[in-house]
């Protein structure tokens, strides 16, 4: 295997027998020999790819496309019918959290059991014990029986063990949706850290945004073959277009949406509440495309966006603390009902700074039947001098985008004073010390 390759998948084929009525009993085996009704379904058909060391790859596709099977084949849980998987280095597969937990044993004891299932030795566990406990934020609860834990505590503990197994290759299946938003953010941060340490990561997720946040590369599996392979944003826009097509074929009802598509959109909203950063390659891809990524069902399209001060004159530079007016014009191809307007602020690195929409802000959803405009006024913007991108969306109430225009607009902020940081924080000073001009006692701001 080449030096810099961590996972080499060659001509991998996996077939499953799908039984109409699966029989494991002797009677069924004897009586229905040759009659046992099943069909052979090829889940993966001659799939080959290499994953480089230190690369983070997302596997995407609709339910039943074979992505989870692929991950299980890579991890060695399943064996292929033909072809091979070669892996360089120690593998840790996080397909299940809290494996082997015993409810009557304490959190600490369960760490040992759970970590041993990942193949750690006693010394290795002891070396990691403190960081696992710290990460789980369980503090003194760690010596209580696990059955007394809330489900959040349970998942935190389970994830902490999983994420602290230092492996060269980390395989993850849909487990990042644990705990509250804060803990999720922490998990992401930890995952970024692991990635920076050079760990090869393969993630199966319904959440495209998770993959966009962590991965350098996305592989779309469709009907047992690789449909697309490239940077996440490239692959995902092709994938979403395809899913949208499928949706149109199904009569265009939002309820017929593949669940992962909806999950993605929900995740996107999550993301807007989380500080997550986009990796440089993604950013490069965005910039290569004129800084624009845009998708949606297209019944209504945003035609123009202007940023201005209160006077309505379009401009790009804004002073920190001033009010910014975003006026968005849209054109209606086809009337829509139950729509929501949204906005999101991003740093140039892709990190989401703020996002909201009319529903979050308590407005009723809109029915849009003719061209029009909406304005959102951002009061006293706290963004310190830098360039920022702003995204706008018109979406259905269930999160399905009609027109999601990522990084539609760039704005710059400037400031007269040399204070530093990412955000301007409103503040006052109070003090007992004397100021140079000799006041006896003072307070100033």
């Amino acid at each position: 295997m080449e030096d810099n390759v961590a996972i080499k998948v060659s001509n991998l084929t996996k077939k499953f027998k799908v039984y109409f009525d699966k029989g494991h009993s002797l009677k069924e085996l004897l009586l229905f020999r040759g009659r046992s009704r099943h069909e052979v379904r090829t889940v993966l058909n001659d799939v080959s790819f290499d994953i480089k060391k230190g690369e983070a790859v997302g596997l995407i596709g609709h339910n039943g496309c074979g992505k989870s099977t692929l991950l299980k084949l890579i991890s060695g849980i399943l064996y292929p019918d033909s072809g091979s998987v070669e892996i360089e280095g120690r593998v840790s597969s996080l397909l299940e959290l809290g494996a082997g937990f015993h409810p009557d044993l304490s959190g600490r004891e369960n760490i040992y059991i759970n970590a041993s299932i990942f193949g750690l030795t006693k010394e290795e566990i002891e070396a990691r014990l403190q960081s696992i406990i710290d990460f789980s934020e369980l503090a003194e609860f760690i010596d209580n029986p696990v059955r007394t834990y809330s489900s959040g505590m349970y998942m935190r503990l389970a994830f902490s063990v999983a994420i602290n197994v230092d492996a060269e290759v980390l395989l993850i299946d849909e487990i990042l949706a644990v705990g509250d938003a804060n803990f999720q953010a922490k998990c992401f941060a930890r995952l970024q850290e692991i990635k920076e340490q050079g760990t090869t990561i393969v993630i199966v997720s319904h959440s495209l945004s998770q993959i966009e946040n962590i991965c350098d590369r996305s592989i779309w599996i469709n009907e047992g073959r690789i449909e697309a392979d490239g940077t996440p944003l490239e692959v995902h826009s092709v994938y979403l277009d395809y899913m949208n097509e499928q949706r149109q074929k199904n009569g265009g009802k939002a309820l017929d949406m593949p669940p992962e598509y909806i999950a993605y959109l929900q995740e996107r909203r999550y993301k807007e509440n989380l500080k997550l950063s986009m990796i440089p390659e993604q950013q490069a891809a965005v910039e290569a495309n004129g800084g624009q990524y845009r998708w949606g069902s297209g019944e209504v399209k945003i035609t123009s966006i202007t940023a201005s001060g209160p006077d309505g004159v379009g401009k790009r530079m804004f002073e920190v603390g001033s009010d910014v007016y975003f006026k968005v014009h849209y054109h209606v191809e086809k009337p829509i009902k139950d729509a929501v307007f949204g906005i999101g602020f991003f740093r140039n690195s892709g990190e989401n700074l703020y996002g909201t929409n009319t529903r979050i802000d308590g407005h009723k959803n809109f029915d849009i039947d003719e061209d029009g405009e909406f304005t959102i006024i951002m009061r006293r913007i706290p963004l310190m001098p830098d360039q920022y991108t702003v995204s706008f969306s018109i979406e259905y109430g269930d999160g399905v985008p009609v027109d999601y225009w990522k990084d539609a607009l760039k704005i710059d902020t400037y400031r007269q004073t040399p204070d530093v940081g990412g955000f301007f924080m409103e503040h006052d000073w109070e003090y007992d010390a004397y100021e140079k001009d000799g006041r006896e006692d003072g307070s100033g701001s």
Partner: protein, 258 residues
């Protein structure tokens, strides 16, 4: 060979699962760990009542005779019947996590083995109290007998656990088989009761030399016959190797069959 190495790398998983099993078993009960000793004692009490008062067997200290044979048998039969379902019981692990699957039967048999060892503390105590004069040679042989039995049980558990995944009926078939096997072994009667013409067949049973060896040490108070013990070791090792080979082959499709 690489499988053995991998199993060794996962040794902590074996000890963790065994500990979990043993500690989890009596957790929450008042006597807790003491049940490991109380349970065999109570069993002994029942046997003593039945065989000294109701069914007089005509064997001196029959309760001890039975007890010495029964405890190792219970371990063996648990490995056969309980072992058959141990993979199915851990299907969540098998389907979701990659580890050498041999760990599951190994830890199941090991935890049963530890149970047996704890019971043996009671057996030895009862044996001494009953006036059996233990010999040094006999005591030294005891760990060897146990290891041989462990190896045999492991081999059996590998086969029964792997086959049961594919054929669920085995669970029930094996329960019957275990009962028949018990009566085909000198556990509740002496070997001398077996008719002469069946004796050759009878001795094919690999459990027989094991039970006889335990009984030599703890009931008759003598050193067991080393040649039969050696033969048993050979059979045990052969069973283990065959068991591991079968298991290695069958485990490839575990995740799909479960």
């Amino acid at each position: 060979m690489s499988r053995l190495k991998e199993i060794y790398e996962y040794r902590l998983m074996i000890t963790s699962l065994v500990k979990r099993d043993l500690r989890g078993k009596y957790k929450g009960s008042v006597l807790g760990f003491m049940w490991n000793f109380v349970n065999p004692l109570l069993q002994l009490l029942v046997y003593n009542m039945v065989f000294s008062i109701i069914m007089k067997a005509g064997i001196d200290k029959f309760y001890l005779y039975l007890f010495v044979g029964l405890i190792p048998w219970l371990f063996f039969s648990a490995s056969l019947t309980g072992g058959s379902t141990c993979i199915i019981a851990q299907k969540d692990l098998i389907k979701k996590i990659r580890f050498p699957r041999e760990i599951i039967p190994i830890s199941y048999v090991t935890s049963q083995f530890v149970n047996m060892l704890l019971s043996f503390i009671v057996v030895i105590a009862v044996s001494v109290v009953s006036g059996v004069r233990l010999t040094i040679g006999g005591i030294l042989c005891l760990p060897l007998i146990m290891i041989v039995e462990y190896i045999m049980a492991l081999g059996i558990a590998f086969i029964s656990s792997a086959l049961t995944v594919y054929l669920r009926d085995l669970e029930h078939i094996l329960a019957i088989l275990a009962m028949a096997w018990m009566y085909a072994s000198p556990i509740c009667y002496p070997e001398s009761m077996v008719p002469e013409k069946y004796l050759a067949l009878y001795r094919l049973n690999p459990v027989t030399p094991i039970i006889n060896a335990y009984r030599a040490v703890l009931y008759e108070g003598r050193t067991p016959d080393l040649t039969t013990l050696l033969a048993a070791t050979g059979i045990g090792l052969a069973m283990l190797v065959v068991g591991m080979l079968i298991f290695a082959k069958l485990q490839r499709r575990f995740a799909e069959e479960l």
